[in-house]
Every structure is written in C-alpha cells, then in structure tokens.
Symmetry: C2
Subunit: 215 residues, 2 copies
C-alpha cells in the first residue's frame, strides 16, 4: 500500500508541474454516490463557461452517463472508466492529460468516482480537493468519514432543500466540521433549486483567477 | 490484488463453515454513506428482536456512533473500526467471531463501511449481501455501480418518502435493475416513516427460519 501511494505521489507531482507550467487549475471533486457532483458541474459550467476556459475529466466505474450530461456545454470532456476501480489515481489522469490542449484551458474539474473513502487518499496532481456531501446522507458524515473533510479546501453541503424532510441538523454538522477542519469554507447549496450558488461561483472564480495571475 | 482476494476467500470459507455448523445466518449490509443502514437495523431489531436471537457487527472507519445507536436493544454488538480502511474483510470478521456465543444466535447482521464499491468485492463469509440504496442518491445508481446490485440477494430502496422532492424516477430505477439483476426482490422502504417494512420483515424472517431449519 505504501508503495502504491508513493508511486501515485510521484506521478501526481509530475501532473502538478505540467499544469502549473500552463497555469491550469485542477479541482478534484469527491463525494458519495449521488451527492450531486454532476449537477454541481452542470450549474458551475452554466455560470462559468463564458468566463473561463474549462475542461472536464469524468471518472466513473462504468457508463458514460455523467459525461453525456455535460456534452451540451460543448467543452473538452474526457471520460475515464475505472472498470471496477473505486477511485481515480494520478496515473489515469496523467494518461489522459494530452487529450486536452492545456494552453487553451484555465481550469480542469475532475469528477472522481462516487466514494467518500478511497479517493481522498490519492493525490491526482490537483490544486485542491473539494468535498461534496448531501444533507440526505445525514449530519454525521464529517465525523464518520473525516479524511476527506480534513483534506478538502472547501465543503459543499448540497441538497439543503431536503433538510425539512430529513433529520439532518445543521448545528450537528457544523459542530463536527468545526472539530475536524475549522479553517475551510462550507457552502450550503441546493444545486437543483439554486440556493447558495452565488457564493460558490464567486469563491471558485477567485481560485481560478488567482491561479491564472500567478507569477 | 488477486492474492489479497484469494486469501480473503479462504478465510471467508472458514467463517462460513463455522457459522453453518452453528446454523447462524450472516447478512452483509452494504450501501453508500448515509443510505440508512443503521436506521434499517434499528427498525429490524425493533421488530425481530423478540423473535430471533440477533448479533451485530458494526463496521466503521472511525467513531462508535452507529454501535451506540443500537445499544438500546441490549444484544451483542461488536464494533470494528477499520481506521481508514474502505471495507470489512473476512480476516476482521474472523477475528471478532469469538466475541459472540454462536450457539446462542440465529443471525448476525454486519453493517459494512459506507461505500458502494469496495465492500461488494470482499466475501466476509456471509450467507448473502444486501444492497441498500437511498432515493436521494438518484435513480441511476444500479447502472453506475452495478457490482453490488449483481451480487446482492435483495435490494432495499430506502427513503421513498423523499421521492416527491427529488428527480428520482422509479421507472428508470426499475428498468436498470431489470437489466442488471432481474431475479432479486426490490423492497421500497422508508425506514424513518415506516413504508414497506412489513414485506421486508417477512422476507428476512423467512431467510433466518430457513437457515435454522436446514438439515
């Protein structure tokens, strides 16, 4: 396992160097199955597609369903089917990087395989990880699956429109997050209804612009 | 990987032999994080605790939160913290089996780590796997994560009370299930509200009784 992680880290460092040269930001989006990663991407592309040059890497065990959902945006999308594999790794990213013309991109969003555990252990060469979690999963997810929430640069709490119909308690969620990682922003969103998206667009736009303007 | 799976299989066979000798049924419950495994167990224990002798193995990455939720039933519960591990394996089960007095049990429910991918690849020595999936995860989960749905003896579609507030389409779910595994029962449940539990209790009771009455 140590060996696998070491080799993954080396390749991730190469990917990071390549992206840095071309000033392309890479964001690694991680969540449980069905927390809303693809809907988040649909919303985000709808807003940012005219402002930034965006590429997508879709990680899925099988099927091209998510990739097809994003085709309407007419941007470069590369699909990685892991064929049973429970996470993306830096080798799979490295292999598909030349399907993009990096000098023509500002940002690549990577939608990882739906899994709250394994993807958080594998550096893909991204600038940062993003944790997406749905209120329907319950308020105890950060406490029970802390790795991702420690690693992530921001947490997107999705499906806040479902809170009235579940036993999700925001106070419990916030209290646990406070213990695990008090320094990161938590965005409360409903990607289907639209709640909270403005703050998220602003935050992610700043990260992309910052990266483009780096010396 | 092949090596790991082979060793896991050998130990799983030992576990299965031990349980068969004592006529204890073992059920391996698998789902994404927050699909409702623990609430399902609360409901199931509430109903079956007086009829059968039940033991629980709680698999969690960290914390004893789920185990504590089941303490009120006053039955044997053994907690396995995987400390980062993304699934239980037959070695971890084998190690804790002697915390139970098997001759005094009819069934052991194993709540696996919340993960729709890795746990489906590891035989624990169970009689069968149970797939739990929440409507809030979307209707495309069987198609996108087919391994578990192929392996499982039954599917528990939980949180049907949330359907009116999501874009879950039962027809899509059923159509995909039909393609992946047309021969297994799909129970439509709401473990919080109580929908559909009668049919589930009846089905699982039959499986336990069947196993007790085996020659």
């Amino acid at each position: 396992m140590r060996n696998i992680l070491d080799r993954n880290q080396n390749r991730a460092n190469e990917v990071r160097r390549l992206l840095a040269e071309e000033k392309v930001l890479m964001v690694n989006i991680i969540s449980s199955p069905g927390a809303g990663k693809t809907t988040l991407l649909e919303r985000t592309l709808g807003e940012l597609n005219t402002k930034f040059r965006i590429g997508i890497i879709e990680g899925d065990i099988t099927t091209d369903r998510d990739a097809r959902r994003l085709q309407k945006f007419n941007i470069p999308i590369t699909l990685i089917n892991t064929e049973g594999g429970c996470h993306l790794d830096s080798h799979s990213i490295s292999k598909v990087l030349d399907t993009f013309s990096l000098k023509d991109l500002d940002v690549i969003f990577v939608e990882n395989v739906g899994n709250l555990v394994c993807p958080s252990q594998f550096d893909l060469g991204e600038n940062f990880k993003l944790a997406v979690v749905s209120t329907a999963e319950g308020d105890d997810k950060p406490a029970k699956y802390p790795m991702l929430f420690r690693e992530a640069r921001a947490v997107l709490l999705n499906k806040v429109d479902l809170i009235p119909y579940t036993n999700f308690r925001m106070l419990n969620f916030r209290k646990d997050m406070e213990k695990i990682n008090r320094n990161i922003p938590v965005f409360e969103l409903s990607c289907t209804r639209g709640d909270g998206l403005g703050a998220w667009f602003e935050w992610i736009s700043s990260r992309i612009t910052e990266n483009c303007n780096r010396e």
